[in-house]
Amino acid sequence: MNTAQQTARVGLFFLLGVALVWVTFETLSNGKIFAPKSHTIVARFDDLRQLKAGDDVLMAGVKVGSVLKTQLAGHRGEAVLQIDSNIDIASDATATVAMSGLIGGNYVSIGMGTAGLPPLMDGAEIRTVESPDLNTIMAQLGGLGKELQSSLGSFSSAFNGDPKTGGGIMQKLDKLVTENTARINATMENLQQITDKINRGDGTIGRLLNDPKLHDELLATVDEIKSAASQAKELVANAQAVIAQVKSGQGALGTLVYDKKAADDIKASIADLRTVSDKIARGEGTLGKLISDDALYNSAQITLKKADRALDGLNDSGPITAVGIVANALF
């Protein structure tokens, strides 16, 4: 091959290289080489977190520039932001250091500000808002987890008993049954006798059936039993809903991150529960009917089992689960 041809090929090859570098540059940097006209603004924060040079500056999620450098300015951290020249930032806009993910990098988020205000000039300082640090949030979550645990602890002690207050619902029920065995037995015997008498066709049955007053009284008693049972069911349903919420985590915890109302709610329902069980302990009104209702007992037991499981789960994984839930919520 002659030299001229060789030179031509090398020249072509070199030009190809230059062209490719150019293409790469154009695609990757959107041709900033001919438009280096960007302006810088300064943002001062108490804590820049892990913000570093090269991180993005976003406005409504759109990249409008990048962090040029970070440095100390007096007692605060200062980030110099390079903003694309065609972007105007209103002078009342605020900047925050935001996280792009739990383990991801940081970026500077700039609010829109008020339209129509004069834009920030080159070198101007932008107003800033400190954002909560991830670590702080984590610490709060840890505290929350503890609170949750303690309130659930009292919830469970309401069910399972607290030796000082004389036991939980179950123990109280047990106690009631044991204490009143004689009377229950007597009642049963009486019933038996009545049945027997009816069976025997004694006069009493006619009297019972024909006496409207007695009949009405009997009906009223049955109604009373019914309403007591439904009341108890409602209570259990309430407890179930709270537990379900705790288990699903989302709603309750989402609220819990910001206020403690839910925790108070739980405490309140536990207080309600206690009142009820106290009432039962005092043997108020509906005692006989309550005891005779099997379904109530069964469903109360199932609920207790469920609550137990939920509590176990929380005890096992404690704050980690909480973090998991929060993490899920964040992503």
Binding site: T3, Q6, T7, R9, V10, F13, F14, L16, G17, V18, L20, V21, V23, T24, F25, T27, L28, S29, G54
Partner: protein
């Protein structure tokens, strides 16, 4: 002990050769034809293999990334992974490895045979230093050609990745989202960074191979040994330098 001494000797003679060659830099315009010839040999003729290799490196990267990222739904990031690793590491690295194999061996063989057959002695007697006529044009050529080879490797590798991302069924992300991720995470400075690395590797490979070729002693059999040594030393140096250059440039 002997090994250490011989290594030190090698380092010393490389540095000497470098200083000598650089001191002849003003003669480069006069050696234009030689420079172009070396550019041709080092750059133009190496391009096809560099392209082929980087294409497949790009495809494998995309494939592996697709396979492992599928598990946690991060397939959209394949572009960024291929883009960054090609530009910052694999582009310059594989180009240099190929350079060591293809150009480094050729340089060593040529200079070793010139040394063994006394051509270098003849040059010395003619007062034409080997550093000026044989080494300088090669060093200049590698400096000019290496960025070109690297950028070709990068772009071809990126397209290789795009092909896999698009057409392999279990990866299956569109070229648009592949290149969007690539462009979002790969900055032009990453490409420049890769080129700087490549420049260092290429320069060292050529310099070391020249030195090994010129210090060959003995008969034709030594030519083969010199070529082996040139390639092995080049490869080791590329890997060792990679660490340090990466650290310095970080």
């Amino acid at each position: 002990m002997k090994r250490i001494v011989s290594i030190l000797e090698g380092v010393g003679s490389v540095v000497q050769l470098l200083v000598k060659s650089v001191s002849y830099a003003p003669t480069l315009p006069r050696q234009w034809a030689r420079f172009v010839e070396q550019c041709y040999l080092i750059g133009y003729t190496t391009m096809p293999i560099v392209s082929i290799l980087s294409f497949f490196i790009g495809t494998v990267l995309a494939l592996e990334a697709g396979y492992s990222m599928e598990g946690f739904g991060a397939k959209e990031y394949i572009g960024s992974l291929v883009g960054l690793s090609m530009a910052r590491e694999l582009g310059p690295m594989m180009t240099s490895v190929l350079l060591a194999g293809r150009v480094g061996s050729a340089i060593t063989a040529e200079l070793a045979s010139m040394t063994v057959y006394q051509e270098v002695d003849a040059l010395t007697v003619m007062n034409i230093p080997a550093a000026r006529m044989l080494v300088l044009p090669r060093l200049a050529a590698i400096l000019v050609m290496m960025p070109v080879l690297t950028v070709i490797a990068n772009i071809v590798g990126w397209f290789g990745g795009a092909v896999v991302a698009r057409y392999v069924s279990f990866v299956g992300i569109s070229s648009e989202s592949y290149f969007a991720a690539l462009r979002h995470y790969t900055k032009f400075k990453d490409v420049i960074y890769g080129m700087e690395k490549a420049e260092v590797f290429g320069f060292v490979v050529v310099l070391v191979c020249c030195n090994i070729g010129l210090s060959t002693r003995g008969g034709p059999r030594e030519i083969g040994a010199a070529v082996t040594r040139g390639v092995v030393v080049s490869l080791i140096l590329i890997l060792v330098l990679d660490y340090f250059v990466t650290k310095v440039l970080m």
